[in-house]
Symmetry: C2
């Protein structure tokens, strides 16, 4: 690398013997310049390590290449994994994903929206917090930038992509009823619409099969689901308040807590007759396969959800038309039979 520092495209253009507009063209699409020109630029790129200033770029572009991504809770591997896939897709498509986590807090979700707004993104992919979301704030945001929501449907933005909770819950309720005692339902703290929908779906599925639904409510509103599952689970087991020997948990993280509770209380969990309890979850969390016993659950097709979300967002960005038709896409879940139920 040569001595003097290259800081602007002007300097770099001079150093490479190419005019600035052409260099600019190169950075926007290396294939858009003649091979020999490209060579010369890339040769210079080897000598000096120059990177165009992203702020100057984005200030001048008609449209930025930014795509905002907001997830409710990044410490949840489920969202971390989705975020990873989204980032990949965006980068591959030439966009620049900017990731925010609301960390379960309304204030942080609002902050993320504001910061995002000041980055003038061409689009946004948002999994809203849900119940604690500031819907007014979200709506205001979605009015300014094309938005696709996923995971949690708040009727915001131009499209929603998620799972069909009625189908997936129906699937596992059906399985559990077929193979043993009908399940009670360990409800998620109602932090988002999915929680409510799953409860409803459970009740509906049970009634359709002629069973009496029994819902266990967890009091608090924390996103620390494992803790809820563990504490509540221990209490229920100790007080013998579990209404049935089969528990369907509103999501896997609660199930992870409940499995720990059962273990600590000496209750054997599994499908076999020698077991005292059956536990099932929902989502197929990355760690569902490492629980003891491995967790039977319904897999959310998050690959499809991510793909469809991105696809839809790109469509909207390309069309530029903000027709008011809101599209909702729901994907089916898939039974993941393991040892816990």
């Amino acid at each position: 690398m040569s001595g003097q520092k290259i800081h602007t495209m002007e300097q770099f253009a001079a150093a490479s013997g190419i005019s600035r507009p052409t260099v600019s063209k190169y950075f926007n699409d290396p294939d858009s310049v003649r091979p020999r020109t490209r060579e010369k630029i890339e040769e210079a790129l080897g000598r000096f390590n120059y990177t165009p200033n992203l702020f100057a770029i984005n200030q001048n572009r008609k449209k930025t290449k930014n795509i905002g991504v907001i997830v409710p809770y990044l410490a949840d591997p489920f969202f971390a994994e989705m975020a990873r896939m989204i980032e990949r897709r965006c980068i591959d498509a030439g966009y620049w994903p900017i990731l925010f986590s609301s960390h379960g807090q309304r204030q942080l979700e609002n902050n993320a929206l504001d910061t995002l707004l000041s980055l003038r993104p061409v689009g946004a992919l948002i999994a809203p917090l849900g119940r604690v979301s500031d819907l007014e704030h979200l709506r205001k945001f979605a009015k300014e930038v094309p938005t696709v929501t996923f995971d949690s449907n708040q009727e915001i933005g131009e499209a929603f992509v998620g799972s069909d909770n009625y189908q997936s819950i129906g699937l596992i309720v059906d399985y559990l009823c077929r193979t043993g005692e009908p399940p009670c339902f360990f409800e998620l703290p109602p932090v988002n619409p999915n929680a409510r929908k799953r409860t409803k779906a459970y009740i509906q599925a049970m009634e359709a099969l002629g069973h009496t639904p029994q819902v266990i409510r967890a009091g608090d509103q924390s996103w620390d689901f494992e803790q809820t599952g563990l504490n509540e689970g221990k209490r229920l087991i100790a007080e013998r308040k579990l209404p049935t020997n089969t528990v369907l948990c509103s999501n896997d993280r609660i199930a992870i807590g409940l499995l720990a509770a059962a273990y600590q209380m000496g209750l054997r969990v599994g499908a076999g007759t020698e077991c005292a309890l059956r536990v099932a979850g929902h989502d197929d969390h990355p760690w569902a396969q490492y629980t003891c016993p491995p967790l039977t659950t319904v897999r959310q097709d998050y690959v499809a959800i991510v793909d469809r979300s991105i696809e839809k967002l790109f469509e909207i960005i390309a069309s530029e038309s903000s027709d008011d038709s809101r599209e909702e896409t729901l994907f089916d879940g898939k039974l993941m039979l393991r040892a816990s139920a």
Copy 2:
């Protein structure tokens, strides 16, 4: 909100009846303007929802407010949690954190570094991938922007903050030897320097106590540690190749896999005499408390690590002096006694 759209500070200044430079001053520090002026601006802010263009801001500032944050693997709740704390601290200090995950891949780490560079950050907080890191690339980056590394020490940047593996491993080896059979060591795939250091620390600690160290090597180089723990664990148990009835795992995620393996193979894990195996981990992973049985481990003081990293970075940014003295800070681990050992 009024009709016409406000897009520039000029327009907003006109609408609020204040001059643009003063409005600019307000946005940089609301307290720097007279109370009555502030009122007028905030009143206008209520009528129009104007946000200064972040790109224009950062292009013109002598120094941006950006702080780059790169973690090796965001889907690991350990790093997700640290990232969350770092973000918080940065925002509170008036900086704008930009988070990247290398997702375990050299290419992505390099991409993150390049993108970061083009954002002209005033500083960076980096947990390098480790073995697969492109050290040359990292060094180049650190030459241009003040960098503090954490978690994995690659002798890059102006400071490193991490855990004292010799102390922490010594602590748990000592505990395990005192309370039962001396442990063998389930080595992490050597993805980063911590992995190697911990192995060395284990050997050293065992020898100091007069025991023969026995290291189990896991073949692959994946970041999917639980899978490694599970697969390798099952194989070792099936082939009766576990050299001792006590296994110290290089980190908790491996231990989680090993616990699952033991469970699936019908091996009872715990400290009691009725148990066939003792398993201990390292890190105090957020989920270590939900394993079956709950995992005995050494807690990394990641609050201290984050605090010190941030503090150090702010110092460097403030001083602007790039004295070549590299500072390394190591924090002690703390024994977390649970049921698994």
